[in-house]
Each structure stands twice: as structure tokens, then as C-alpha cells.
Amino acid sequence: MSVELMQSAVEGTVASGRLLECRNITKSYNGPIVLDNVDFSMKRGEIHSLVGENGAGKSTLIKIVTGVTNRNSGDMIFEGKAIGIEHSKVASQELGIAVIYQELSLIHGMTVAQNLFLTKEPRMSALPFIDIRKMNSLAQELIERYGFRLRATDIIDDLSIGQRQTVEILKALNSKASLIIMDEPTSSLTSTESAQLFSIIRRLKDEGIGVLYISHRMEEVYDLSDRVTVLRDGHKVAVLEKEQIHPAEIIRLMIGRNLDERDTLHEMRRNDREVVLDVRNISAEDKFTDISFQLHAGEILGIGGLVGSGRTEVVRALYGIDPLNSGSVVYLGKPWKPHVSGSIRSGFGFVPEERRLQGIMGAISITGNIGITNLDVVRKYGFVSDKKELELARKAIGLLNIKPDDPVVPVGNLSGGNQQKVVVGKWLIRDLKLLIVDEPTVGIDIGAKEEMYQTFERLSAAGVSILLVSSDLPELIGISHRILVLRKGRIIKEFAEGKVTEEDVLRASSGLIEGDGK
């Protein structure tokens, strides 16, 4: 078996065959162009990284290759076969393209073997029964061929995230995939698990399988890649060969050089007003360690870092959703034990990262969504004053220019931007002292984005402190007065004064602090 694979790998190299060839791929989702004449190619047995900032077009390109969405124009050739515009997910799987998603797609409660052979279970000769013995031995054979530390009969639920990922990879191998796409595979892995994954990826390369690797972590891209394709704003900016790959260079290409328009805003400034929140050495198991900072009145403190760096976890803990293991917090000069309803009463506001899942109640009216966080304001004993609730809703609608301005419309019917305005608006009508916002402008249009920034600046001018978590670098730099960068659960860098560029923040997030280029 392995000899065959070796042979096919050799044949692949001999033919020096391109595995995947995309030419002039263009895609727009009703209006804005997300991919503009993008070329992309992959060789057999190559580890090829695709990098770019949020919104550069990486996911769209992957979706086009895997048939999740269709391109508008351009050619695509996979293993010498032309793929028509009408591509599909099923067709791409049959061709041998597999994706390891961030959210794993394994079925819980089933064994490794059952997952590997799902819908392809070996049958007892001519009978409609599954030959479990054979299935388990085939699965075990596959596991051993790659030297994974798994058993065919392990139940998925008992495996670590890293092990589950190897099952996903095995699943791809079992379906004879020749291109495996990995989208941020290390975001929830420990460093040991990541190291194991990298050795697996190199193993796949030796077997002649192409690995398309997507990651924000520059050191991984640097360590692994044979080539790197950089996307920016829907364009292919560069394809770097092995010897050209350098983390600082990739970051420079990702950001481009045309970022002076908001340059004046990139100036950081210290704030000497009274301290609102004093965080001292807080830690939470596995999430973040030894975090300390002070937040001043009217200050907008940005928290940067990669997804999984612990930024969301820190603000959740400060608001009182998840517990702290150690450290202390002082709020308005008094010792503070974070607790959600206490936080709300004491002037906190919280805008969570996933609007649809955590922020809104889609089926409920604007009034209902605003009322639920303001029950303490609209209550008269145990009763709710409808009049007062409606008043609050109208006030929030007016403050943020929410459209439609009809308070009875279910929030689920609003556009993304207006939904987010409701989630922010319900705090603005309170006596707010500290607003925590996590990725406040994801998936909302530019107009609403601008209004959101103006709102934050208005709040700051009125003395409200803001903790801003964001992956959007221009946003983070543009509106923060000061920036903390987290990496692996610790504060790795503070930008408190002087000019800050996206490159600075990205380098800090990737662990390449000033002048420490690899």
C-alpha cells in the first residue's frame, strides 16, 4: 500500500503536475468585489500558505475551490481536469479536495472508525449489515500507517481537540484526498499538539499530498511553507518562494503601503484622569495569565492579539461571565468581584463578539431586546412599565439612528449594522461608566461602522471608558488611545504613546517584537 502511494507521489513529481491551478478568479457578492482576477496555484506535495488580513478574500477563495460558493468568472483546473463554474461541495470531495474546518465536523458519541467510514462502511458480503470487525481493522491500519496515537475504537468525546483534528485528517486521507485545506488549524491547540500537527503536515507533503495552510501566525507560516500567496483587498499581491519567505516581509505585503489616510489617528496618547478599572495580576486556568492594566476615565483601551490569544476571555472574566482563578480587580476605587448582574448595576456594558448567537434575541422586538438589560430601570416593583420601556427603546433608536425606527419590529429582521446598534444602544440609555465591546463591527456595512466609531468617541468624550477587543487592525489602531497586545494569554506589548502602525501590532501579535525579525 505505502509503496503504491510512494509511486504515485513520485509520478506526481515527475509530471511536476500542478495540483490546482486557478486563473483570473473573480467573485462578488451582490456588489462589492471580494476577489479580483486572482491567480493561485498549488503543486503536488507542497505546503502552500495563504495569508491576508481579515476580509482580504482568503475564505472566499477557499469556498470557491471547495465548491461552497461559485465564482463569477475565471478558470479552475484540478489534477488536469477543468472545473466548471457550477462547482459543488460534493464534486470537490469526489475530486479529492478535503477541508479541515475550525469547527470540527466529527460526530460525537461515535468511534474513530465509525467517523472515518461514515457512509462508506464496509459491508458483510452482499448483506446490508456493517462489518464492524473489518471497519475497525481498516481504520487501525490507516492510523498505524501514519503513526498517530489513536485507537480505531476510541470514542470522539474522549479525545482532545488535537486528536480530533488528526481524526479529521485521517478522514481526508481515507477519502483519497490529494489536496487538504487547513483553516487556522492551530487556533485551539496547545503548543505540543501544534508541533505534532506540523510533523503530520510534513508527512502528508512526503506522501505527495498538497496542503493549503491558512494561518494568522507568522512563525507557523515561516516554519512550514514551501510557498506563500499573499492576498490583500481581494487581489493577489505576491507569491513568495521558500527563500523569500520572511515574517516581516509577509506582514508588510499583507498591509500594503497605502495606509496614510487615517495616519493622524494612529497617535497613541496617555490619559491622566482617574482610574476606573484597576486589574491586578488576574489569571484564569488555560485562558490567560498574570494580566494587569489600568483603565482611565474616558479612555479607549484597545486589546489586540490573534484569535485564541485570550483577549475575549479577559473581557468576559472582567464582566463576570467566566470565573477568575487569581488576582484582583479594583473598580471605582473599591475591590470588585465580577458578577454579571452586579456589573450591569454598577455601570458596565457588554457587547459580545458573536452578535447573532450572543447579542440579540432575533424573534423579539427592538423594545424587548433593549428592555431586558434595563429591567432595573423600567421596573415598578415586580412589574414592567410598558411606557417607560417604549420610551427607552425610542431613545436608543434616536441616539443611534436605528432603522427601521419602529420599536415593535423583531430585531432578527434588521440589517447586521442595525442589529449591532440595538446591542450597543441598550447600554447607552443607562448610566454607563465602562463599555466592553468585542469585535463590534464584524459583518456590518461601512456606514454603520463609521457611526459606531463616532458613538465610541462620543462616549469617551463624555467620560465613559471603553475596552475594545478587535481583530480589525485599522479599527483597533484608529480608535484606541492605548493598545495592549495579548499573545498566548499574556500581555506581550503595550503601545501607550507615539505612532503605531498595523505592522507594529501584527508583529507583536505574532511574537516578533521590534527589531526581532526572524
Partner: protein
């Protein structure tokens, strides 16, 4: 779409259920001349009472995203307990009924705590409760059908009429009003809807989902207990399977009334109309002298049609969807 058109649409949606009820009444009165008589209508109202009282509390379990399948068993058991307290232990009526209610509240508390704190799905928890409550009822009643002999004042609840209507009807109306106010006007009502609509969002807004749900199960069991007491007084009987299967009538009434079993929305008045419809259907079948073996079939079919109508589904829309043409209104 203009604002006016939106408003008319909402108004129509609110009254759709009422129109369906009128339609059902029209059909029934055409099929049986004795349907639309005062005697028969008050008779239906009388029989609707039990289901109606149960829905006022039960409603909060689907609103918070759960379900309570134990209400039928709870009602049967509370009748048996009330009788045992009054006629065997000779406790005066008022304290006896309050002890019974206390027991019902305790059952609701157990259902609520097991669902929220031990993370057992409510379907399973309340199904178990349905079974063990029936078991307790069998033990306490020895499996017999008990005829309730007294006290006099207790039996009067079901017999005495005020302004031509039996007292249970007033109990039901009072509970419907209370439940309506609770849902629409109180903090608890808002919290229930929020927990059912999006638990995470509710939690981030300072609502305690577990406590809200526990209260919902207490209300459900409590209302079922009151329904059981009223039933005992009306029928002057108590036996373990007396109200078995009522949970399905209650679910039907609540769903017809526009409460989503997925949580986040509900209507007390809608549930009452639903209970009346369930009562009318049963009553209509009796009036038409239809053999009893046909009743479940017809009831099921009529309920299905009522539910489809209440979804506001129009035939042209379905045809369009099946033909794969886009909906011009979408």
C-alpha cells in the same frame, strides 16, 4: 412595505386564531342544531376549564424552551391527595388544599432543579415525573376509583353556579388573567421570554436562566395541581389515570394558541382559545353521535388543519415554493 400595511398585517395575525375559532363554531353549528345553544356552550366551557387552568401555568415551560409532560399525572395525583387529606386524615378543606398545592410546587421545584442544575433534558425529566407521580397516585388510591363524599363545601365548588356559570369557570378566568399579566407585565414574564429566545443573550443581560426555568416548572405543576382539585370537585371522583393524556390536550391548546415549543414566545389568551377549540371539537363529535372509536382520528385531523391554518400558510405560496419560483414578496 408601508408602515400601514405592516400594521394591518400584524392585526390580522393577532385575530387569525379568533377567525379560525369562529369558523370551527360555524361548521359545528351547521352540522348539529343543538351546538349553538346556551346549555351546550356553558357545558363546553365547563369541560374546557380543566385544560384551561392547566395551560395558564404549563405555558411557561415551552416559553423558556422546555416542556412539562407531568401535568396530567400531577392533576390526577393532586385530586387523590386532596381527598386523602380531607376524608382520611380529616384535615379541614382550606389547609388540605394548601398542603396539596404545596406538594405540587415541590414537584415543580424538583423538575426545575433536575433540568437546570443536573442538565437532564426536560422531556426526560418530566416524562419520569409523569410516571412516578402516576405510581404515587396508584399507591395512595390503591388503584381504586374513589368517590369523593365530602366535605360539603368542597363538592359545592363544582356544583354551585354564579350568574349562570359554574365556579370553576371563574377560577379559570381569574388564572388566565393572572397568567396574562404575569407574562406581559412582569419582570418574570420578560425574563422567561428572553431565556427562551436566546439564553446566552439573556444571561449577558443579567438574567439568571436557571432560576427563571425553575419558577416556570413550579408554575406548571402548581396550575396542574389546582386543575386536579377543580376536577375532583367537578367529577366527585379521584383515580390515578383520571387526567392521563391531558398533557397532550394542554400542549395542543398551547400550540394552537401560538406558543412556540422552541421557546421565546407565547400567549395566554391564545392558549385559552386553543383550549376552547379542543373542547369544541370533543363536544361537537359527541353531539353528532359519532362512534367513540372515530373520535381520536377526527380530533387529530381537525387539530392538524387548525395548526396549518394558524401558520398563515397560503396554498399559492406552497405551490410556488414547490415549483421553485421565487416568492415575489420575499
Amino acid at each position: 412595505m408601508s408602515l400601514d400595511k405592516n400594521k394591518t398585517k400584524r392585526l390580522l395575525e393577532n385575530f387569525r386564531l379568533f377567525f379560525i375559532l369562529l369558523l370551527l363554531m360555524a361548521v359545528l353549528s351547521l352540522m348539529s342544531p343543538s351546538f349553538l345553544t346556551l346549555a351546550n356552550l356553558s357545558n363546553v366551557l365547563w369541560s374546557v376549564c380543566i385544560i384551561g387552568i392547566m395551560t395558564t401555568g404549563f405555558l411557561y415551560t415551552p416559553i423558556t424552551g422546555g416542556i412539562d409532560l407531568s401535568v396530567g399525572s400531577m392533576a390526577s395525583l393532586s385530586a387523590i391527595i386532596a381527598n386523602a387529606l380531607m376524608n382520611n386524615a380529616h384535615i379541614p378543606m382550606v389547609p388540605a388544599l394548601f398542603i396539596t398545592l404545596g406538594f405540587g410546587i415541590l414537584v415543580g421545584l424538583v423538575n426545575g432543579v433536575v433540568t437546570t442544575k443536573f442538565r437532564v433534558p426536560p422531556f426526560i425529566v418530566t416524562m419520569a415525573a409523569k410516571t412516578y407521580l402516576f405510581g404515587i397516585a396508584m399507591l395512595v388510591s390503591n388503584g381504586d376509583t374513589i368517590t369523593i363524599m365530602g366535605p360539603e363545601s368542597f363538592l359545592k365548588i363544582g356544583v354551585v353556579k354564579v350568574f349562570g356559570l359554574p365556579i370553576p369557570v371563574y377560577i379559570m378566568i381569574m388564572m388566565v388573567l393572572m397568567s396574562h399579566v404575569l407574562l406581559k407585565k412582569t419582570l418574570f414574564g420578560r425574563r422567561s421570554i428572553a431565556v427562551g429566545a436566546n439564553e446566552v443573550s439573556a444571561k449577558l443581560s443579567g438574567v439568571n436562566p436557571d432560576n427563571t426555568r425553575i419558577v416556570a416548572y413550579i408554575l406548571s405543576s402548581g396550575a396542574a395541581t389546582i386543575a386536579g382539585i377543580v376536577m375532583a370537585s367537578l367529577t366527585q371522583q379521584a383515580y390515578a389515570p383520571n387526567a392521563s393524556g391531558y398533557e397532550f390536550d394542554v400542549i395542543t391548546a398551547v400550540v394552537i394558541g401560538g406558543t412556540s415549543l422552541l421557546g421565546g414566545s407565547g400567549s395566554v389568551v391564545g392558549a385559552l382559545i386553543g383550549a376552547v377549540m379542543v373542547g369544541f371539537i370533543n363536544n361537537g363529535l359527541n353531539l353528532m353521535n359519532m362512534p367513540a372509536s372515530y373520535h381520536p382520528l377526527v380530533t387529530g385531523a381537525v387539530i392538524l388543519v387548525a395548526l396549518i391554518l394558524n401558520q398563515g400558510v397560503s396554498l399559492p405560496a406552497i405551490v410556488r415554493k414547490q415549483m421553485g419560483r421565487p416568492d415575489p414578496n420575499a
